[in-house]
Structures are given as C-alpha cells and as structure tokens.
C-alpha cells in the first residue's frame, strides 16, 4: 500500500512527472530562445510561473458551466499521469503492464485534448469556443497518423503492450532502424497533440488570444499548464519507448540516464521544429495530415507487415 502510494504520488508518479515536466518546459524554452538568438528564461522560470499562477484568484466566467470548467484541468492531469505508469522508462518493464496497454495509453493521451475542448467550450467565450472547435478539428487530423505510426512497431513486435514492444526491439535492435520514417511521422503528429508550432492553431495567440484557455486563470490555468508540460514529457517518453528502445539492459541507473537523454533528444527535436517553421492554417494542417502524413504512416504500417512476414 505504502509503496503504491509512493509510486503514484512521488516516483515515478506525480512529483517526478511534474518536476520533469517543468524541467522539460525550461529546456524547451531555453533551446527555443538560444536558437532565436535570445538568452531565454532562468531554470526556475516554469516553477515560478506555476507558483505565481497558483497564488492568483480563480475566476469562473458568469455564463460558464462551473463544474466542468473546474473539473477539466484535474481530469487532464490525472489521465496523463495514469498513462505514464504504463510506459517503460528504464529496462523494458513499465511500472504496470498488461496485454494491450498500448491502446489504453493512446486513449488516455487523447483525453487531455478532450478536456481542453470541453473546458474551452463551456467557458462560453467566443475565443474559447473557436479554440475548442479547432482543438477537436485538429484531434481528428493528427490522431490517425500517430496511432498508425505507433501501431506499426507493435505489429512488428507482435504485442500490444508497450513493455513487450520495448523488450522485442531491445532483442532485435536492427529492426528499429526500419521504423525511422514512423518516428518522424510520430514526432510531427506529437507536435499536433502538444499544440506546438506549426500546429499551435487551437491557441494561436494573435488570432484567438489563448484559444480554449482564454477564460482560465489562477490555479485552474496553472493545472492546465502543468498538464501540458506533463503531456510533453509523457508523449516524449512514449516515443522514446517505442522508437528508441536501445540500452535497456545496463541496469536501472544507466537505463534511467539513457531514458532522460532520449526524452530530452525528442524535446530538442520539438523545439527545433517550432523554431524553424510558421504556424499553419487549420485547413492546411488538416490536408497536410490527411494527404501526406496519414498515407505515409499507412505505408510504414504496410512495410512493417511485410517485414514481419519476411522475418518469420
């Protein structure tokens, strides 16, 4: 019981993911700044922002649905945290694992986007509602390529459990090279999930202020921002587990260090992507995802299917 509580709240639970999330946000912002010829924030800036926001007043708009408005940030954090327990960090075993946890993780990672939608929609502000509608529109565009690109390695490993995928690829290391196109697709789709440039359309500042989060303030906004930071870490961990499963058998310490390196590498790629491109329009984003990314993901899926037949 005590161990379970420790796992949930401290390590690798809430405290660890929160701290890692804030660090990830700092690294992302610092890299972004350095690539833009700026100095960037000090290391404690994300934490300071969190504390500052938590100390501020929560304002619930008069016409908003108070219950949903307040509940959504909590659901977002909870679902992200839950999905993290099924992702292997060091070694090839996650904290919890069962057959088919891949589907559960993907499902749990969809929930935050739905909470952004609901939170924004029930804010009853025009900016929030447009942002919420864009959230959902975007969800349908990136979710399919992300699912397909992650299912391809699962197909090859012949298991629907993340730990199983890690285990398979750490014993067949060369096959992972085959999934590199899938890795690129997954990174692009992850940019959409995390709402980062070029896919930050739902919260495009110059158009709709802060999108779905326009009416949020105080603790609730702090929670949403924490959820986004955690989503960054969990999303990066997921890709690291599926696409970069090497060096898993050097013991916990080395494995953990390697895990951090892998996640930071993916975060670095995300920062790079948002430095070098402009924001797309929602129609451009959808046609790009459906006409370019989704077919490529499907090809990757087919290729893995064929490779599986060749190996067996």
């Amino acid at each position: 019981m005590a161990e379970a509580l420790f796992n949930i709240f401290v390590f690798p639970g809430f405290l660890f993911v929160a701290a890692f999330g804030l660090t990830a946000e700092y690294i992302d912002r610092k890299l972004y700044a350095l690539m833009q010829n700026r100095i960037g924030p000090p290391w404690f800036q994300p934490l300071a922002d969190f504390i500052k926001l938590s100390a501020k007043e929560d304002v619930v708009p008069q016409h908003a649905d108070s219950l949903i408005f307040k509940l959504m940030p909590i659901i977002a954090i909870t679902s992200i945290l839950t999905s993290f327990f099924y992702i292997p960090m060091w070694g090839s075993n996650a904290l919890f694992t069962f057959k088919g946890d891949l589907v559960v993780v993907m499902y749990l990672l969809t929930v935050p986007t739905l909470t952004y939608f609901l939170g924004g929609w029930y804010s009853r502000s025009v900016y929030s509602m447009i942002g919420a509608a864009r959230c959902l529109t975007q969800l349908f565009a990136y979710e399919i390529p992300l699912f397909l690109s992650i299912l391809a390695p699962a197909m090859l490993a012949d298991t629907w459990s993340l730990s199983g995928i890690s285990e398979y690829f750490s014993t067949h290391p060369w096959t992972i090279l085959f999934n590199l196109p899938g890795f690129v697709i997954a990174i692009i789709a992850l940019l959409g999930k995390l709402e980062k440039v070029p896919f930050d359309i739902p919260e495009a500042e110059t158009e709709i202020v802060a999108g779905a989060f326009t009416e949020y303030s105080g603790r609730l906004l702090a929670m949403f921002r924490m959820a986004i930071d955690m989503e960054l870490v969990v999303g990066a961990s997921l890709l690291a587990a599926v696409f970069l499963p090497f060096g898993l058998h050097y013991g916990p310490a080395a494995g953990f260090a390697l895990y951090l390196v892998k996640v930071l590498f993916i975060i670095g790629l995300i920062s790079l992507a948002r430095t070098i491109v402009a924001r797309l329009r929602i129609d451009q984003m959808i046609s790009f995802c459906w006409k370019v990314i989704a077919p490529l993901a499907f090809l990757q899926f087919l290729a893995d299917l064929i490779l599986k037949g060749v190996i067996k």
């Binding site: 010829n37 700026r38 447009i130 110059t206 202020v209």
Partner: protein, 411 residues
C-alpha cells in the same frame, strides 16, 4: 465548427493589435463573411493643437504623430512650411534629411518583417529581424542622439551635421544589414510554411488597389508602379538613382517581397548619399513668422504616401494643418481583402498594410447607445460640453479662468 454565424470582436484590446482599433468579424466556421472597422480610439486632436502652437513647436508635435515614421511626418510638415516661406534648403541639409528618411525606412520595414512573422506564429523571424533592427537604431542614435523621435529637422534645414567619422560606422552597419536582408529574402522565398501562409492571402487586384486608393507597399505589391520619391522628387531623391519595387503577386507574399526589395534599395540609396554628401551649410535661417499662403506636401513614408496641408496666415502660428497618414488610405482596403478570407489570416492581412492606427485617427464620432444617434461636435460645443461635464464632477474652472485673464491683462 459552429455552423451559425459567430460575431467575433477583435479589439480594441487584443494580442494581435499593437494599438487600439476595433474589428468586428462575422464568422461562419473559420470563414469571414463580413467585417467592419471602427477607427477613432486614438484621436489626440493633433491638428487642432497645431493651430494653437508656433511653427517650431508644431514641428515637435508633428514628429510625435507616429512613433515609427516620425521623421516622415516632420519632414512632410516642414516641406510645406518651407514652400510657403519660400526657403531654399541647402543641399547638404537635404541630403542629411534623405539619409535619415532612408534609415527610418530600413528600421520600419525590419520592424514590419518581425511583426508579420509574429502574426503567423513564426517568432524566430521576429527575434532575428528585431535583433538586426538594433543596428540601424544604433546608427540613428549616433546621428541624431535619439532612437525614435530624431528631432533632426528644423525649418530651413537640419539641426545636426554628419561628421566624417560617422560615415564608416553607417557603411559597416549597412553592409551587415544588406547581408542579413539577403538571408531574409532567401527565407521568404524558400521556407515552405512561410510561403504557404502568405501566398494567396489578402488578395488585392490592381484595379481594386487603384479604386480603393491603396498606398505604399500595399499598392506596389498589386502591380501599381507609383512612388512619390520618383514621381514627385523631394529632398535629394531627384539626384539619386533607385528602382521602384513592384510585384504582381497581389497578396501578402507580394507585400513581403516588395518590402524586402525596398530594403535593398534603401541600402543602395544610403550608400549613394554618404558617398556624395555635398559640402556646405546644413540650414538657412528661417523667419519666425511665416507669410500667408498654403501648401500641400507629399512624402513617401515607409507605409505609403503621407500628405500634409498647411495654411499660414502671416503670424507665427499656422491657421490650419491637415495630416493624412498612409494607413488611412489603406484601412479601407483591409475590409476588402478580408472578405471571404479565413479567421486565421486576419492578423497577417491587417498587419500586411503595416498599420499605424494612432497616426491615422483625425476625428472621432460617437454613437449614442440609447438611440443610436451619431454625434459630431464642433469645437465650441465640445468646449461647452467639457465645462459642463467638469462642473457636474464638482470641478469649476470659472474662477481659475478669471485669474488667468487678469494675469494676462496685467502683463
């Protein structure tokens, strides 16, 4: 997407806008079906204030019409005054005026490039171009002592001379900027997302540009070959060679290319000016009282053609000053360009005219919320209204006014 029409107000306070202005968009999904612009949030009564001050004071006041193209407004105003007074500005003075004007164009266009990048979520472009803008700001500070309101002009010439040791500094900065601008041209033409976001957005055909009276780069990007610097030369432009940049894209992408091309022309002009700076005095002495007369002065500001009208009555104060900032010519065009566009394109379409709303507002009309009646007040009525409004608040100026009058009379 909600299928019913949504009314979205952008402004007067919105992250997209740098100055208060209001745009009411009617949206169907992401498409804009209708749009209205409301001007007048920045009316400062500058024209009226000019009538109550001397020409020298007005020069400083007019310089503060705009924070970016301050030299444009002050030069435009002074050209009109000089024309009425029949002053012949020495050549060196004209060259220095033109030099500051071109440096100002460089800093204004670099600023625009950054803003445009920010509006489409490309903050890297903003950071880069604003970093480079510092170079030209430094040069302006070296020449005039100020970064924005240079205070270089005076009636009859300029106030500060260019010293020989400033010339190499200017040339080095221009060399660096030229290299960077070439890089931006490369980014603008090769970066896919940037091109995707700018192409085909905010279409304005040549006919519409002429019909709606667009000005500056907005007009030239629609293929209209018109530039006051060439068509009606002022300052030293008549003796300098440069090309007028036009483009046939007729969209925001074309406007970007025109501005980047104009940057390259500005560097060319600045080099010509500092290399052929004539010797001699920089100003002639101007009379305090300007003889009666009137003049219209035209000036190609970074944002388009600036027009000033001055009427003198023989005293040391002008009788009437009328300013038309280029944004006023372009703001009607925005409504046309946004029709049937996407909400996501609104920021960049509005930004693409390089709006300067504070400079534009010359009048204010109020709408009575109770009966929808539109009010316009003439000067005495406004005065009476303000006296009544203050006395309702318990503030009475009658006694103070009487004291002021007796003080004046005793003097």
């Amino acid at each position: 997407m909600p299928e019913r029409d949504v009314k979205l107000t952008i402004g007067p306070q919105h992250p997209m806008l740098k100055e208060p202005e209001s745009f009411l968009l009617t949206l169907r999904g992401e498409k804009i079906t209708d749009m209205t612009v409301r001007l007048g949030y920045n009316h400062r009564g500058i024209e009226k204030a000019c009538e109550q001050r001397t020409y020298i004071q007005d020069m400083y006041l007019v310089e503060r019409v705009c924070g970016i193209c301050s030299h444009s407004h002050s030069t435009c105003f002074i050209q009109a005054v000089e024309e009425i007074a029949g002053l012949q500005v020495p050549k060196r003075g004209l060259y220095i005026r033109t030099l500051v004007a071109e440096l100002e164009r460089v800093h204004s266009h670099l600023l625009w490039l950054g803003v445009a990048g920010h509006e489409i979520g490309f903050d890297t472009l903003l950071m880069y171009s604003w970093r480079d803008r510092e170079l030209v700001m430094d040069i302006l500070a070296i020449i005039s002592g100020n970064r924005v309101n240079y205070g270089m002009n005076t009636i009859g010439g300029v106030k500060r001379d260019i010293t020989p040791d400033q010339i190499p500094q200017i040339l080095t900065a221009i060399d660096t900027l030229e290299e960077r601008t070439k890089y931006y041209i490369q980014v603008g033409t090769e970066e896919i997302t940037l091109r995707e976001r700018l192409s085909g957005v905010g279409k304005l055909s040549k006919e519409d540009a002429m019909r709606l009276g667009a000005a500056g780069p907005t007009m030239r990007a629609s293929g209209v070959n018109r530039d006051t610097r060439r068509d009606d030369p002022y300052g030293a432009y008549g003796e300098l060679t440069f090309d007028v940049i036009t483009d046939d894209h007729c969209d925001v992408y074309g406007r970007t290319l025109v501005r980047l091309g104009e940057l390259m022309q500005s560097y060319k002009l600045i080099r010509q000016i500092v290399r052929s700076l004539p010797a001699g005095p920089i100003a002639v002495k101007a009379p305090r009282k300007i003889p009666a007369g009137q003049a219209i002065s035209r000036y190609e500001a970074p944002r388009g053609e600036d027009v000033h009208y001055v009427k003198a009555n023989g005293s040391d104060k002008p009788e009437r000053v009328k300013l038309r900032a280029p944004t006023l010519a372009n703001v009607q065009v925005v409504a046309h360009m946004l029709k049937d566009g996407y909400l996501a394109d609104t920021p960049i379409v509005i930004a693409a005219i390089d709006p300067c709303f504070s400079c534009t507002d010359r009048a204010i009309a109020t709408t009575n919320l109770d009966d929808g009646r539109k009010d316009r007040m003439v000067w005495p009525a406004l005065r009476t209204y303000s006296i009544e409004w203050y006395s309702k608040q318990g503030i009475n100026f009658t006694e103070l006014n009487r004291k002021l009058r007796t003080m004046r009379e005793s003097n």
